[in-house]
């Protein structure tokens, strides 16, 4: 979008008295190659183009979005928004100054359509070599997002980011029993993502896991010690405290951590970091969706609450440092503070010692998604692959379980942290829509948590 047009929009927005105006312009294309039944069922193409305008006066915020980006439609949107303020008319003369930043997520490699199709078909073929596999869904999900952000502070910045993810679900069936297992690999990156990964091996492991789940047993739940494996297991921190440390909840006192700055909220084994600057990781971005450079934020240091994730407007209520974490799914959403790549720093405890220390508990090798209510601190997450621990040894595979807890106490129950840090990627849904996030941790032991199940 032309700089003069952006300046015109911002100055027009300011003339009924708001003290902040921001324009977010987006052009994105999403491509999703979807293989089912051993053939490319769809190539889903979603072109997105639109504008979001945010105005504020003090703590009052108005937001409007449209994909009708002709001048008349934009003027109509501006009038709808600015009429919500009735302050004295003033003449604004904001001049934008473009900031140029280097992309932290450079793309090195793309594939032709034919190569992408061959890549997916190989996954299907490798998985179907196992007798009980009856279906394979394999998707290559690409997104190319180009944004322009301009605001009444004079900021003008452009950014381009790419996301690539392989998401495969492999289904096993025997008689009436059905089970599935998923493989997910993603990054803010091109097809070099797969250069150092043995895809065939990962697919074989996923297929074997789906088959072994056919024999998994139900398990009566209860409060037990639990070991949570590396990578996506960190959903426990994402849900138990990550959302509760976002200014969205903290600024309106709707987080159990609202008044806990500088206080102990976790065991001293816990140092939790949110870092949007790690090159090519799934949740990384050069700038956030307010145009600030992303940042490395140490949220919890040795169990002490060290910082919140703070966006520009919530900071007006909190008076903390804005730290490059404002995100949104697309132009239809107002941005707010969100996580990016959140991970637990490795410790020195040994996994073997953790297992040996448990007489009866659960080993959660792979976790699914979760959710939290930051106001109460109640959170939950699914377990994709779990085993019983009996007398210090891993025994039967179990199914149909999930873990629940409360943020107020569960972080204090982190008893041991290993050194095998790994990452997993997902889409986090919250007020400003679904955004790519990485979560990471080494293997940990939680002394007690409620495990749901059935006999």
């Amino acid at each position: 979008m032309d700089t003069v047009v952006l300046e015109g929009i911002i100055n027009s927005c300011l003339d009924t008295g708001c003290d902040f105006a921001e324009v977010f312009y987006e052009e994105t294309i999403k491509r999703n190659y979807n293989l089912v039944d051993s053939k490319i069922k769809t190539l889903s193409l979603v072109p997105i183009k639109g504008i979001g305008i945010r105005l504020a006066l003090g703590n009052e915020v108005v937001y409007g979005s449209t994909n009708k980006i002709d001048q008349d439609s934009i003027n109509e949107l501006i009038n709808t928004l600015k009429n919500k303020f009735n302050d004295n008319v003033k003449i604004a003369n904001v001049v934008l100054h473009e900031e140029v930043v280097s992309n932290i997520n450079p793309i090195k490699k793309n594939l032709s359509n034919e190569e992408k199709v061959a890549f997916l078909k190989n996954i299907d073929s490798v998985a179907r070599k196992f007798d009980l596999i009856n279906q394979v869904e394999a998707m290559l999900i690409e997104e190319n997002r180009n944004i322009t952000i301009a605001n009444s502070l004079g900021k003008l910045i452009n950014s381009s980011n790419n996301h690539l993810r392989l998401y495969t679900t492999i289904y096993a069936e025997r008689d009436e029993e059905k089970a599935s297992s998923t493989l997910s690999i993603g990054g803010s990156v091109g097809y070099e993502l797969f250069d150092n990964i043995d895809i065939d091996k990962r697919v074989q492991e996923t297929a074997k896991n789906a088959i072994s789940k056919l024999d998994a047993k139900y398990f009566k739940g209860g409060e037990l010690p639990v070991i949570i494996g590396p990578g996506f297991g960190a959903v426990i921190f994402h849900e138990a405290c990550g959302h509760g440390l976002e200014a969205t909840a903290v600024s309106v006192h709707e987080s159990v951590f609202s008044d806990k700055f500088g206080e102990r909220i976790a065991s001293d084994k816990v140092t939790l970091i949110d870092d949007g600057t790690i090159a090519n990781l799934w949740g990384s971005n050069t700038i956030d969706d307010e145009g600030n450079l992303t940042n490395r934020n140490v949220l919890i240091k040795n169990g002490i609450l060290n910082c919140y994730l703070v966006d520009y407007l919530n900071n007006r209520k909190m008076n903390k440092t804005v730290n490059g974490c404002s995100r949104r799914q697309d132009y239809t959403y107002m941005p707010t503070s969100r996580m990016s790549n959140t991970y637990l720093e490795p410790g020195t405890d040994k996994i073997e010692d953790m297992i040996k220390s448990i007489d009866y508990g659960v080993y959660c090798k792979d976790m699914g998604g979760g959710s939290v209510n930051p106001i109460t601190g109640d959170f939950n997450f699914a377990v994709n692959d779990a085993y019983l621990i009996e007398n210090g040894e891993i025994t039967d595979q179990i199914k149909g379980i999930s873990l629940i807890g409360n943020s107020r106490d569960i972080l204090m129950n982190v008893e041991a942290v290993s050194d095998d840090l790994d990452f997993g990627c997902g889409i986090c849904g919250s007020l400003s829509g679904g955004v790519p996030v990485t979560i990471g941790q080494p293997t940990i032991k939680v002394s007690k948590i409620l495990v749901g199940g059935r006999e």
């Binding site: 039944d37 053939k39 069922k41 190539l43 193409l45 979603v46 072109p47 997105i48 639109g50 703590n59 009052e60 915020v61 108005v62 937001y63 409007g64 449209t66 994909n67 439609s73 949107l77 919500k84 359509n113 009856n134 279906q135 869904e137 069936e173 059905k178 089970a179 599935s180 739940g221 209860g222 409060e223 309106v252 709707e254 159990v256 239809t332 699914g368 998604g369 979760g370 959710s371 939290v372 209510n373 106001i375 109460t376 109640d378 959170f379 939950n380 699914a382 199914k399 149909g400 379980i401 999930s402 629940i404 409360n406 107020r408 849904g429 409620l450 495990v451 749901g452 199940g453 059935r454």
Partner: protein, 422 residues
């Protein structure tokens, strides 16, 4: 937008038929916390779904805009997609426009109403959050056969949340309501306040099997997954537990599920789906027997049957509902006598598996003792599966509600649900 020019360009690229579904969506939304406006939001969005025929297969794209680049993308799809997709294009050129006068809401009036809820705050209710949204949707389908049909609707959505804060725990109760007309927010707050009074008292329960009332809002989310389970596409992919169950008794004979897209009093009223198939009212489950899967045009042609008018982006429903029974909620509570009310669950997206029907959810609610609601219980895990849950139905309540346009539910009473607790 000159649609005829777009059609001509498509024909030039070798497409023989082109149909465009245009969804024009406008919304106004306001969020108030106590007596402070947190935000006002306005959205005006127009979306296009283009379906174009080349050879004997169709190619579809959803887009924010229409220009030459969209035709190029359609052309690219035709070189990659291997599954032949058939489609019957509308050819009835008689106009069928059903666009009502869409009432524009006065957002200032609504905002003042939400601010006035602040008067309900007291020693019990420490905070009140409310969101009100009004949306209008006009849907139009045109194609190069000369078809041009339209339909419209207006909906109101209101969410209210009451919070009690204490050093030990915060207690939240909330209600989402959808209606085709303006919503009485005072009524919502009054009933929530009563619920909050009970919920601030919390007890632990023991692990075991319980007779439970699954409240309408919880059942409604689960019904949404059932819609996924009867999606003909998933059935053909063998990724739903309801594959192979057509015309079989799957659930309790007390369970009847209908879809009434032509019921104008319900929020999902629509004359036709996004592919232009005219909708019709139908019975999906009768006395526990599954009568039909849901087909868009592609799946219908593949299976040799008629499309069911359920194409809304993917396969979905409008105004599908569990047929209510006679008992009001108090009568259900008396019939449980000793048991639980499950009135909120979390974790659906990760812990409900339509592939094998497994359900394992964080559950919240209240304890029923001697036919009376006495307190809330500390969060538990409810573990079951769809077959068990919907086969164990003892009674169906009369409190049918539609929290969204897709489906609605009353509360149900089910026996022997596994609950894990501390």
């Amino acid at each position: 937008m000159n649609f005829n020019l777009f059609f001509d360009k498509a024909l030039g690229l070798g497409f023989s038929k082109v149909q465009i579904t245009i969804t024009d969506y406008c919304s106004s939304e306001v969020k108030v916390s106590n007596n402070e406006v947190l935000y006002d939001q306005a959205c005006s969005h127009i979306g296009y779904t283009v379906v174009a025929l080349k050879g004997n297969s169709v190619y579809k794209i959803n887009t924010d805009y229409l220009d030459d680049s969209i035709l190029k993308l359609l052309d690219e799809k035709s070189t990659i997609e291997e599954e032949k997709k058939e489609f019957t294009f509308l050819d009835d050129t008689s106009k069928n426009n059903n666009v009502d006068d869409l009432k524009i809401i006065d957002i200032h009036e609504i905002t003042n109403k939400l601010k006035s809820l602040d008067s309900y705050r007291d020693n019990l209710v420490h905070k009140i959050n409310s969101i009100y949204e009004a949306t209008t949707v006009i849907k139009r389908i045109i194609n190069n056969n000369g078809v041009d049909i339209s339909s419209s609707r207006t909906n109101h959505v209101c969410s209210v949340e009451l919070i009690n804060e204490s050093d030990e725990k915060n207690t939240v109760v909330f209600k989402d309501k959808l209606d085709t007309k303006e919503i009485d927010v005072d009524l919502i707050v009054s009933s929530l306040k009563e619920e909050l009074g009970i919920k601030i008292n919390e007890e632990s329960i023991t692990t075991g099997k319980y007779n439970c009332i699954i409240k309408n809002n919880v059942l409604n989310v689960l019904l949404g997954y059932i819609i996924g389970g009867i999606n003909a596409e998933r059935v053909s992919e063998k990724t739903t537990f309801l594959e192979g169950k057509l015309n079989k008794k799957v659930f309790s004979e007390k369970l009847n599920i209908k879809e009434e897209p032509l019921n104008k009093d319900l929020p999902g009223y629509t004359l036709f789906d996004d592919e232009g198939t005219f909708t019709y009212n139908k019975s999906i489950i009768t006395n526990g027997v599954l009568n039909t899967y849901l087909y868009d045009k592609k799946e219908a042609l593949k299976n040799g049957c008629e499309a069911t008018g359920n194409a809304y982006g993917g396969i979905s429903t409008r105004n599908m509902y569990v047929v209510p029974g006679n008992d009001n909620f108090d009568e259900l509570v008396k019939k449980v006598n000793n048991g639980l009310i499950i009135d909120e669950c979390m974790g659906y997206h990760a812990s409900v598996h339509i592939n094998n029907g497994e359900i394992s959810l964080q559950a919240f609610g209240m304890i029923i003792r001697d036919g009376k609601i006495v307190s809330s219980f500390k969060p538990v895990v409810m573990t079951t599966n769809f077959i068990e849950l919907l086969s164990n139905i003892e009674e169906i309540g009369n409190d049918l509600e539609f929290p969204h346009i897709g489906c609605g539910c009353p509360s149900i009473l089910v026996k022997d649900i596994s609950i894990a607790s501390k």
